[in-house]
């Protein structure tokens, strides 16, 4: 029997916590269907076609999508499409690279003993605990100094000069993702008995085949968890991207921030809704993976 009583106060507190956590998101999604174009107040849902006649302003003519009007507007906004494309490119590229580096680092930290191992282990936590803004400034300084030197040394001018852009954002995202991936894979490796690898080699598999057939499949859930974490972190990131992006590499967070300074239209909400759903699905996947992993072990 469960010795803990279900006190009503606890139940009320639970409901309040849920409201606190999810009410803003619900409101955000609700406003993405707002009939008002200023989005200061909620003026009801966008009406169906027959009711549009009474609507004021130009909305009547330009609303072939019904309630999903703002989503349609969004899909016609080239800036948003470009920003979304950039965000996904950055997320996929930085996840891919940081998963490889992070997994390799985790394996090395598990397998080898070396003088700087305690330092290496500790250094993983530095990018995690350091304020993002410090890291952003640091990376920006590094890039501008480096590019200045390289441009000077190689005599690059005009468009061929090295400058901030998609590349620098990807590199900076890799930099903050690697420690997360490493730590997640490391946790997975904690319970990994090295005799599995020895058994594979004993049965005639060389190092690479052993990794491919035994080590990799066994730590894959850890690698995927690490990858999904890196992916969502990259999708979300504002601060570091703010410092390292350049012309043509605007991401969604940067774009939304730009919009907010002008006027908040329900388009921003529509964008946020799509975004929230995407991240939600990603997190759901992560959870499913982890629970499957727990069932297996």
């Amino acid at each position: 029997m469960n010795p803990y009583r279900r006190h009503p106060v606890i139940q009320i507190a639970t409901v309040l916590v849920y409201i606190f956590l999810y009410a803003p998101i619900v409101v955000l999604i609700l406003y993405s269907f707002n009939a008002s174009r200023t989005n200061v107040t909620f003026e009801g849902f966008i009406p169906r076609v027959s009711e549009r006649v009474e609507m004021k302003g130009s909305l009547v003519q330009a609303a072939p999508c019904g309630a999903f009007h703002w989503f349609c507007e969004l899909s016609k906004n080239d800036d948003v499409i470009e920003a979304a494309g950039n965000t996904l490119t950055i997320a996929f590229a930085s996840t891919f690279v940081s998963v490889i580096i992070g997994t390799m680092a985790a394996l090395a930290l598990q397998r080898y003993e070396f003088k700087l191992k305690p330092f290496s282990q500790l250094s993983l936590y530095i990018p995690i605990v350091i304020p993002e803004i410090v890291m952003g400034i640091g990376i920006l300084t590094l890039f501008s100094q480096l590019f200045g030197l390289l441009n000077g040394a190689l005599g690059l001018t005009g468009d061929s000069r090295l400058s901030l852009g998609l590349g620098t954002v990807i590199v900076s995202h890799i930099a903050f993702s690697v420690p997360f991936v490493t730590l997640v894979v490391q946790a997975r490796l904690q319970g990994f008995d090295k005799s599995y690898e020895e058994a594979a080699m004993d049965l005639g598999a060389n190092e690479w085949t052993t990794f491919r057939r035994v080590t990799f499949p066994m730590i894959l859930p850890g690698i995927l968890s690490g990858g999904l974490l890196a992916f969502t972190l990259s999708l979300d990131d504002f601060v570091i991207t703010f410092f390292t992006n350049g012309p043509g590499s605007t991401t969604l967070p940067i774009y939304v921030y730009g919009l907010l300074r002008k006027i908040i239209t329900p388009q921003v909400n529509a964008l946020s809704t799509v975004w929230v759903l995407t991240v939600f699905i990603a997190v759901l996947l992560l959870q499913m993976l982890q629970s499957r992993e727990q069932k297996q072990h």
Partner: protein
């Protein structure tokens, strides 16, 4: 087979650095020759170097000094996947993401065997370990004993020159362990493959082995058949580690070609007619050892090595009754077999009773000191 010996270790040393930064010889100048087709055990308590020795044969570790030979060929730094030996791991190390079939087929795939061949050989291997029909199970769905069989099948399907087994029965309960001991021994005899078996369980080693190497502190203390090791232990460590022994300190008083007389100050008496082993010198200080089941309780004083003592305790353990007898302050353990069924076997000897112990000369061993 090219060589008389399946495995040979020549003066092998393996140094490790302890966490405190000290150098430690986990294996300390070990030389052993394991014959083809032999069931050979390395026996010792944890940290004696038996597993490290096995791992050097498998190729998971390389000797710091000396050389490991397999079928007469020096192994040097040959990686495990190029050695014709296979290992059954203590943890079994079955690949959890693969089925039983895939586990056993893994080694054959690595050899590049074709699909039909693999299927045929996996089937035979499963028959051999009586697991037919389990092909599609995952290791997690098997009992400990079944997992152990899969581990054996996975190693044996490769038809290695030598099968290495690292305490493979350690995780099983006693009854299953005893069954598996006999099964493994039968399998070894049937296949004629050399088995090198690591265990800390002396009974297990005695049951299965043709020869045993008793190890301690990285060194081989004695190598021989189970009978040799039990009946003629080379030193006090072996006599103490294998079975039980009563030890008495003494000095050789006289020495002829066949017999020795040892004076034991503790008993203030001489033990006479003791068989002589090599290298003993007159006047040498020695340890005399006699197995508890080889001490005879007599009702009258005989003319050889008879001593009167007093029973201090009796312990009934089913097959035997252990009788503890005080001989002039020295406690001697005697195992008396319970050959007659009765409900009060312990009371056959009562505490405080006077008994006469006879140590027949042939049962007494003289061990060198140190």
């Amino acid at each position: 087979m090219a060589s008389e010996f399946a495995v040979e270790l020549r003066d092998v040393v393996k140094k490790f650095i302890t966490p405190e930064g000290n150098e430690l010889n986990a294996v300390d100048h070990v030389t052993m020759q394991i014959k083809n087709g032999e069931f050979f055990s390395m026996l010792g308590s944890s940290g004696c170097g038996k597993t490290t020795s096995l791992r050097m044969i498998a190729g998971f570790e390389w000797p710091t000094e000396g050389e490991v030979y397999i079928e007469g060929k020096p192994m040097g730094h040959t990686p495990p996947f190029q050695r014709k030996v296979n290992t059954v791991f203590q943890s079994y190390a079955l690949f959890q993401h693969m089925t039983v079939f895939q586990n056993i087929a893994f080694g054959l795939e690595m050899e590049g065997a074709d699909k039909n061949e693999i299927e045929k050989r996996v089937k035979r291997a499963l028959e051999m370990v009586q697991l037919t029909g389990m092909e599609r199970r995952k290791p997690k769905q098997l009992s400990g004993g079944q997992q152990q069989r899969v581990a054996v099948a996975r190693a044996l399907v490769k038809v290695p020159d030598v099968l290495l087994l690292d305490e493979p029965l350690g995780a099983l309960d006693l009854k299953l362990r005893k069954e598996m001991q006999l099964e493994l021994k039968a399998l070894q005899q049937q296949l004629g493959i050399t088995f090198v078996y690591v265990t800390h369980d002396q009974e297990e080693a005695m049951t299965m082995s043709d020869r045993i190497a008793v190890m301690s502190k990285g060194k081989v203390q004695q190598m021989g058949t189970p009978v040799e090791i039990y009946e003629r232990p080379a030193n006090r460590f072996v006599a103490d580690f294998i079975g039980e022994s009563n030890f008495l300190e003494g000095t050789i008083k006289s020495l002829s070609k066949e017999e020795a007389v040892v004076f034991v100050p503790q008993l203030n008496a001489e033990l006479t007619g003791i068989p002589v082993s090599d290298g003993l010198v007159n006047g040498e200080e020695v340890t005399v050892s006699i197995r508890p089941e080889k001490v005879h309780i007599s009702d009258k004083v005989l003319d050889v090595n008879s001593f009167t003592g007093r029973v201090t305790n009796t312990v009934y353990i089913g097959t035997d009754t252990h009788v503890f007898v005080d001989l002039m302050g020295k406690q001697i353990k005697v195992f008396e077999q319970n050959r007659i069924s009765r409900l009060d076997p312990g009371s056959f000897y009562s505490i405080g009773q006077e008994v006469i112990l006879v140590m027949w000369p042939d049962n007494v061993l003289v061990l060198k000191k140190g």
